[in-house]
Amino acid sequence: MAGRALKRLMTEYKQLTLNPPEGIIAGPTNEENFFEWEALIMGPEGTCFECGVFPAKLIFPPDYPLSPPKMQFTCEMFHPNIYSDGRVCISILHAPGDDPMGYETSAERWSPVQSVEKILLSVVSMLAEPNDESSANVDAAKMWRDDRDQFNKIAEKLVRKTLNLSYP
């Protein structure tokens, strides 16, 4: 089983190396453990996360691609759909059946035809358009709704942090 997962991960790694989506990079942190990946995701242009390069780690189960990987940002994040510990709350990371929030359609759930690339693209679109209905970070969701300026300021601070630029 793990052999198949490994082969699939290798295929995806190759695909992501040679033909990655814009502003996304992903691969195993250390090839001695192919089940732990690191990804860099650039904040989408025209949003408050623009230019930020956010690192995240992806942990794959041994029965990948039957089960989805887990994804967690390793930098500080402030976003309605990201828990304070960096875990990402997004439907594509959930297999149909386990529905922590209760209103995801199974169309956008994890299945073996999904891929790391699709997960990362979903995360990019999540950064661009937070879903404040399924909030993993209540404070962030509240601020996103009520005080967008403050939210944008915090986001810019985070962006500068990832780029190692001091905030004025």
Binding site: R4, T17, P28, C51, P112
Partner: protein, 457 residues
């Protein structure tokens, strides 16, 4: 009790186990017997053709002919034999049942084939228009039965042959609509236990059954007269059929079943489908199941291609490896290019165009306006550009060129090639990560007009 349809018929002509050994020993003898019988029976057959109808000599010749064929008939319970009955019904085991009955009790059976008249009457067939539909058959049968000089009509209400060992098929009702009284008889076929060749197997033609009859030392038909059964007052043809079936079954020590001719045809079709699946592994459910496992790992490869490889390998992991390493006979299509980003990202299009514009423009005069309106580069150009950007490790070399053309920081993180070794790949990965952060940093500084030492001062 319902009998499964599989159990109703014989599928294999040949025995298994020690009997097969005897069969092999017997085969040379059987072939000689077969050839001799063909020659002798042809002559007798021709003689019977020219002899006049309904004469003793013709009857004797036919009897000898059938004996030469190895077809021997025995009668049982002769006290129930009733020659005045106009309809005889028996169960159906081989295509020769009616010949066996006609030896001991002159009769004809509706012909299923379009035979010439002489041959037809020699083989005890009578054309009653079976092929022209049930109504024609019924009318013809009534007309035939009204002529008292003709021999009785022999019918097989089952409509198809069974193995004769377990159960009778459902008796069709049409045979019981014609006349009040039928002579019910049972047929049993016996061959020497040392050479238990099945008299008839599922889907075999009458010619094959005939060949094996000529090959076998003897085929003994036992006709057991069960007696005349009269249709009761107010009894429907269906009820009458059921009663006759039950009577026949109990006399032959068989059970009854509800399988009809249509069920047998369906069953034969199913067997044919299964055989086709076995002959063409692309259709087998096992290969399909394995192909789905492969597709879970390699979703971009079509199921047909996977199956074609699986047919050779019979192994999921081997096939996956074959596709990954390109060891397949056919070219594997590249994974379909995914959209750069979902539509709901507002910046997807500008970001793409900024990636297309080169970071390595030779002249600094190609300003932002020209680069933003320049047409997208061809894939080769793009690859060279992005590869060059990814391959330039020192930030200073890229800063010197990209600094001259603002808003053209390559955000494409593609590598020129996928390294062969892990070290190579990891080095490339680290480098591309650093490159992406560096480019994002430059873009941010540019955009916000920051003054950062080492970048724009």
């Amino acid at each position: 009790m319902t009998v499964p349809i599989e159990a109703m018929y014989t599928k294999n002509r040949f025995p298994s186990g020690p009997s097969l050994f005897f069969l092999m020993l017997y085969t040379p003898l059987g072939i000689i017997l077969f050839l001799l019988r063909i020659f002798i029976s042809l002559q007798l057959f021709l003689a019977a053709c020219v002899l006049p109808h309904n004469t003793l000599i013709r009857h004797v010749v036919l009897r000898v002919l059938y004996s030469v064929l190895g077809l021997v008939v025995r009668e049982e319970s002769v006290e129930n034999r009733d020659t005045s009955c106009r309809i005889i019904t028996t169960n159906h085991i081989t295509p020769f049942d009616h010949l066996a009955v006609s030896i001991v009790l002159p009769c004809v059976t509706p012909s299923l084939y379009d035979l010439p008249g002489a041959l037809s009457s020699l083989l005890c067939y009578r054309d009653l228009g079976v092929t022209r539909g049930r109504e024609v058959l019924r009318a013809n049968a009534r007309a035939y039965l009204s002529n008292a000089d003709c021999p009785p009509l022999l019918l097989h209400p089952e409509g198809a042959t069974t193995s004769g060992n377990l159960a009778l098929m459902k008796y069709g009702s049409w045979a019981f609509e014609l006349n009040g009284t039928v002579l019910v008889a049972g047929v049993q076929v016996w061959r020497p236990p040392l050479l238990p060749l099945a008299p008839s197997v599922l889907g075999a033609s009458w010619a094959a059954d005939l060949c094996f009859m000529l090959f076998s030392p003897i085929t003994l038909f036992t006709i057991r007269y069960i007696g005349t059964v009269k249709r009761k007052e107010g009894e429907s043809a269906d009820e009458f059929a059921v009663r006759v079936q039950a009577t026949t079954a109990s006399a032959l020590k068989l059970t009854t079943s509800h399988h009809t001719v249509a069920d047998k045809v369906e069953y034969m079709k199913r067997l044919a489908r299964e055989a086709a699946a076995a002959a063409n592994p692309m259709l087998s459910p096992e290969v399909h199941r394995m192909a789905q496992q492969v597709q879970e790992v390699l979703p971009h490869i079509s199921i047909d291609q996977i199956k074609r490889d699986l047919v050779h390998t019979q192994n999921v992991d081997l096939t996956i490896t074959n596709f990954l390493e390109g060891n397949v006979l056919e070219p594997v299509p590249d994974p379909p290019p995914l959209p750069l980003a979902p539509v709901n990202i507002p910046s997807a299009v500008p970001a793409a165009s900024s990636a297309f514009s080169s970071a390595h423009k030779p002249s600094p005069s190609s300003s932002s306006s020209s680069s933003s309106s320049s047409p997208p580069a061809s894939p080769q150009e793009l690859k060279g550009t992005t590869g060059g950007a990814a391959a330039s490790p020192s930030p200073s070399s890229s800063s010197s060129s990209s600094g001259a053309s603002p808003k053209s920081f390559p955000l494409n993180t593609a590598a020129v090639s996928f390294g062969k070794s892990a070290t190579e790949r990891m080095a490339s990965f680290e480098m591309r990560k650093a490159q992406l952060i560096e480019n994002a940093r430059r873009k941010f500084i540019e955009k916000h007009g920051l003054q950062v030492p080492g970048y724009n001062c």
